[in-house]
Point group: C2
Chain length 348, copies 2
């Protein structure tokens, strides 16, 4: 057995719905590799972070917690290798956050490119909930509470890690300590899958997702209904591969890249029908999803056992955050239980 | 024995130095009355709040925690009647804060008159630490975590209670609950004592405070050096009572108001010397401070016993915050331990 690398990896998802094949390609497959490569892996179901822009839709967040857990386990995330936990079950994370908030200015948060972009997307402007604006600080808490050294992210999330490391360096410098650890990104060329309707993004509201929890019949139906090249009317017409989500999915899932390239050429010059290409995609995708469904069948319908397992796992994880919080509090001089403060000595 | 009123009173101080006679007149004397009038009294040593603008001076905060406790006990705050606790020993307060932050916008905080004013005083502008900007939310957490219904404040702090009640109503309305309680101010004509140098404010950096922990000799010296009316050069000159801190102090402490008015008239028309007035103040003030000193002598020099008592008391208080947090989390649907979330049911 190969030696595991001694790094601490932390990833997470906001539980705002079931995971789809876009999540699978974009992050879950990477996590499956990471859990076999690194000694310590944390996977956070970030319910508190989900609430920062879903405060009025807590039902969705609440119900997605177990759904997301099921998705993880079905895909082969192994609780023996990856510690899965619920963010809100680690109250120390809120303590870290509150402490860090004293070292980050409003201007700095408003300047964070990721926050800026996300705020624009949501048209928040000054009506941004302070919890949302603050989420880089909250992420810094998540990462440092576990001394995570590696965080898989897309390019667009790099400013979040910069913000984290800024806090780390700032506190370490001012308190002359190395209690906090800097983290590095694991940058991945994130394959972002388009929706089945050709829309650039999979989104529940657009009803254009293939979920990991879809049964075979549903997947089949969704593939058959997929958008292709709208100008590819007859089989003999030349078709476009670029922007054709059926081919984008094949790029992501088809193991036989050589044959796939031949099919693409064929499609481009005409003579290859959409039905045939979709059948190829269905074969490939069902093959990928079938073992996921089989694993799911083993525990589906037992949400109480699932939440129990999550709570157990969160409790173990919590001990790490507790230890690290005490270390930080000792550095800051507010760990009164182990470290009695002197009486204020300056007498004028 | 008179029946105690069934309200929950919460007050607190930021531990950023020893308390002086301004604190005594402004808030401690009121607390002494309240603890005999109301059934439940909380007194918070707000170390986390102190850190929001003292993040680089944690030593001061840390050391002041015990000093402030000593000041309370010396003045007669009775731990049997008033639950004294350290804010940072109640981690649930940070959880409340983080949850509330999703319901308060940046615009709302920037519009809070108290915050605005405090930010101007500190010339923060956009460089305001996000923790400082957020302190009304943190106060809402402190108040509601204990279901406090009465909060003694000065006029200038009223916007803070409005912000708290806004959060309370907002959450209660949206989640169709009454889990959070609104609070009312106990408005007091706050006697704000000037410094011994005539400056409008007592401030450690101006070295113009008389501390509750000053010994008799120090108090005597400080009174003798007090600023009076600079134009009252000879005893026979007419003197000014307004803006003369010796008389302001006498107003606050002298029990014999009739004689004091006669002295004021005498001073105004001339013939009453500063030395004599200062002697009167010294007599009055030492009489007030002497029992405080006597009480202090009983426990001074035992900071470990003091912190032990504070930790014990904080632990008791924490149970209340824990219960109330669980209630709120249940309403928000994120109390997974007692309330298993259903599996996400929407299947497209």
């Amino acid at each position: 057995m190969e030696e595991l690398k001694q790094e601490i990896v932390l990833t997470g998802d906001r539980p705002t719905g079931r995971l789809h094949i876009g999540h699978y390609v974009g992050s879950i497959k990477q996590r499956l590799r990471l859990q076999d490569e690194y000694a310590v892996n944390y996977l956070m179901i970030a319910d508190l972070q989900a609430l920062t822009d879903n405060a009025y839709d807590v039902g969705k967040v609440r119900e997605s917690v177990i759904e997301v857990l099921y998705d993880y386990l079905s895909c082969g995330i192994d609780p023996e290798k990856t510690a899965i936990f619920i963010q809100s079950l680690i109250p120390e994370l809120t303590e870290f956050t509150i402490l860090y908030m004293n070292f980050v200015t409003l201007a700095r948060l408003l300047r964070n490119p990721t926050v800026k972009n996300e705020m624009q997307l949501r048209e928040f402007d000054n009506a941004v909930p302070i919890g949302f604006l603050n989420y880089p600080v909250s992420q810094a808490a998540d990462i440092t509470a576990f001394n995570a050294t590696l965080v898989p992210v897309g390019d667009d999330q790099l400013p979040m890690l910069e913000q984290t490391n800024e806090i780390v360096r700032h506190i370490n410098f001012h308190f002359n300590t190395d209690v906090l650890k800097e983290c590095k990104p694991i940058l991945s060329k994130i394959t972002r899958l388009p929706g089945t309707d050709g829309n650039a993004k999979m989104s529940k509201s657009l009803n254009n997702c293939i979920y990991l929890s879809d049964d075979a019949e549903t997947v089949s139906k969704k593939i058959r209904g997929m958008y292709t090249d709208p100008n590819h009317l007859r089989v003999e017409d030349p078709g476009k591969v670029e922007g054709n989500p059926v081919f984008t999915y094949l790029d992501a899932f088809d193991p036989d890249k050589t044959e796939l390239e031949e099919w693409k050429a064929h499609y481009r010059r005409g003579g290859l029908g959409d039905v045939k290409v979709k059948r190829r995609l269905e074969k490939v995708l069902q093959a990928e999803l079938e073992p996921i469904r089989e694993r799911r069948a083993q525990f589906e319908g037992k949400p109480d056992r699932a939440i129990e397992m999550l709570i157990e796992s969160s409790k173990k994880v919590r001990k790490v955050a507790q230890e690290n919080l005490l270390k930080l509090k000792t550095v800051l001089g507010i760990n009164y239980e182990v470290d009695i403060p002197p009486i204020y000595t300056e007498r004028l």
